[in-house]
């Protein structure tokens, strides 16, 4: 009665009410990975690595897990999912992140 969610087809509008899983339940999570929320962004956070002190506050505060923590505790932004909320900019104690216009 409930089918797997084919997100690519859903996003293209290629579905009927019968092909969708019952009651919007998702039996093959995590389908949310297919939703690239980066396209929501108006401005993007850019990190000045020379100012970064590796405190990881931006990594803690990011509500979308779009700050990627690397082996040496330096950080980078995952622009596929970052919605551009700017919380990391606010959280950074050394003003190493700034919001820049998308080009």
């Amino acid at each position: 009665m409930s089918a797997k969610t084919d997100v690519k087809k859903v996003l293209k509008g290629d579905f009927t009410y019968k092909s969708l899983p019952m009651a919007a339940m998702i039996i093959n999570p995590p389908t949310s990975l297919e939703y690239k929320t980066g396209v929501w962004r108006i401005k993007k956070p850019v990190i000045d690595q020379s100012k970064c002190i590796k405190c990881l506050l931006c990594w803690v505060y990011c509500p979308d897990m779009s700050v990627i923590r690397k082996e040496d505790d330096s950080v980078e932004i995952d622009y596929e999912y970052c919605k551009g909320c700017g919380i990391c900019v606010n959280a950074c104690p050394v003003k190493a992140i700034s919001m820049e216009e998308e080009v």
């Binding site: 859903v10 579905f15 009651a23 919007a24 339940m25 998702i26």
Partner: protein
């Protein structure tokens, strides 16, 4: 069909007994008059070890129904009961229950909604939830409240249905009246309702996301699924009632009726009023008057086709509503019937009698008067007034 002794039960007690025999797994409820005795009895059954179920008293009806949804999605057989203000407080979750396709049975002991404060019989509480996607059944007496409880579990849990079912029972008139009932045996109950099987039960090793967000691009498709599920549950209802008839000897259907085949006029109602109308109709039939009485057992999905077949053959109709749509054109059953008549091209005079709000008694002589009024309408070919509020001092 195993032999069983007749029992004398109050409506509430009969329902609790049926729930016990249905071998439920989870009961979450919050007591409210006049349903209190149902959950009281169930808590005793659990405490005495007669029923192996989790009995959870929530801090409100909103929480009680939320617990029920979770338990149902975990694959449990789930029961709750409420009425009036309690149902109103559940309202938000009532829609989530049907839309998340969480089957369960809820007895609604129909009672008026405030204000003014009143704890007595009225159908206003369920009518406020009419459009929620629940299957809605009405019992006309204590035996029916008992029987429909089993039917409701079997129907809602059917893998092709997966919907919550409400069994409606008139406050006090049935909930607190002692009537003799013939129960089914525990063995037959267990055969009719084997442990529930559910394909998508919560399992940490196979995670499923329930209750997701669906934005405008897909929302309507999910609502269409719900529409089809509710409508097609009627076919499963037919199968379930025939299976129940085999083990109980009692056959249920979308409606029940008395002498409608040759009736010049029909009076229809929901719930216990059917019994009153039927008794009055017997008297009129003895006088040679061709009156018929009709009551819906299944209100949602609405048995339009079956009703159209009946109403096509009569000359006038009185629809009795124990609820009202304020500012609308009449009571909820009346408007459903008007729609049915119009789109089935049936042109007969129809009158709406709104009665019994807040538990005002509807006595036998009043039933007789309504039946005579219906016959007058058949003879005249019209009714003078579309909607009349029965017995209101004006």
């Amino acid at each position: 069909m195993a032999q069983v002794e007749r029992l004398a039960f109050m409506g509430d007690e009969a329902v609790a007994y049926a729930v016990k025999q249905s071998n439920v797994d989870v009961i979450a409820a919050y007591p409210i008059t006049p349903q209190t005795i149902i959950v009281e009895r169930l808590s005793e059954y659990v405490a005495n070890g007669e029923l192996d179920a989790a009995f959870i008293q929530a801090e409100s009806e909103h929480s009680a129904l939320s617990i029920c949804v979770g338990a149902s999605l975990a694959g449990a057989r789930v029961y709750t009961s409420t009425c009036s203000q309690g149902l109103a407080l559940m309202h938000e979750i009532v829609y989530a229950t049907s839309s998340m396709r969480a089957p369960m049975v809820m007895t609604i002991v129909n009672r008026s909604l405030n204000a003014p404060l009143n704890i007595h019989c009225e159908h206003g509480d369920i009518m406020a939830e009419r459009d929620s996607g629940w299957i809605i059944l009405f019992a006309a007496n204590v035996q029916e409240a008992y029987d429909l409880t089993f039917i409701a579990f079997k129907l809602g849990e059917d893998p092709s249905v997966l919907l919550p079912v409400s069994v409606n029972m008139d406050a006090f008139v049935l909930s607190h009246s002692i009537e003799p009932i013939t129960p089914i045996s525990d063995e037959d109950a267990a055969k009719f309702l084997p442990p529930r099987k559910y394909e998508f039960e919560v399992d940490a090793d196979k995670p499923i996301t329930y209750g997701t967000m669906a934005l405008p691009d897909v929302y309507m498709e999910f609502k269409m699924q719900l529409k089809e599920a509710v409508e097609s549950s009627a076919k499963i209802f037919e199968k379930v009632v025939s299976e129940y008839a085999k083990l109980s000897g009692r056959r249920y259907w979308y409606y029940q009726s008395y002498m409608i085949d040759d009736a010049d006029a029909i009076v229809m109602a929901l719930g216990s009023t059917y019994g009153t109308l039927k008794t009055a109709a017997k008297k009129l039939r003895n006088e040679g008057l061709k009156i018929g009485v009709l009551a819906l057992t299944m209100y949602r999905p609405f048995p339009e086709k079956q009703l159209a077949e009946i109403l096509r053959n009569t000359k006038a109709l009185v629809v009795m509503d124990r609820a009202y749509s304020y500012g609308g054109i009449g009571g909820p059953l009346y408007t459903d019937i008007l729609g049915t008549l119009y789109r089935n091209d049936i042109k007969i005079p129809v009158k709406n009698v709104v009665y019994g709000l807040g538990g005002r008694d509807f006595k036998l002589d009043e039933a007789e008067a309504v039946l005579r009024m219906a016959l007058d309408g058949a003879e005249a070919g019209r009714f003078d007034v579309n909607v009349s509020w029965w017995g209101v001092k004006g």
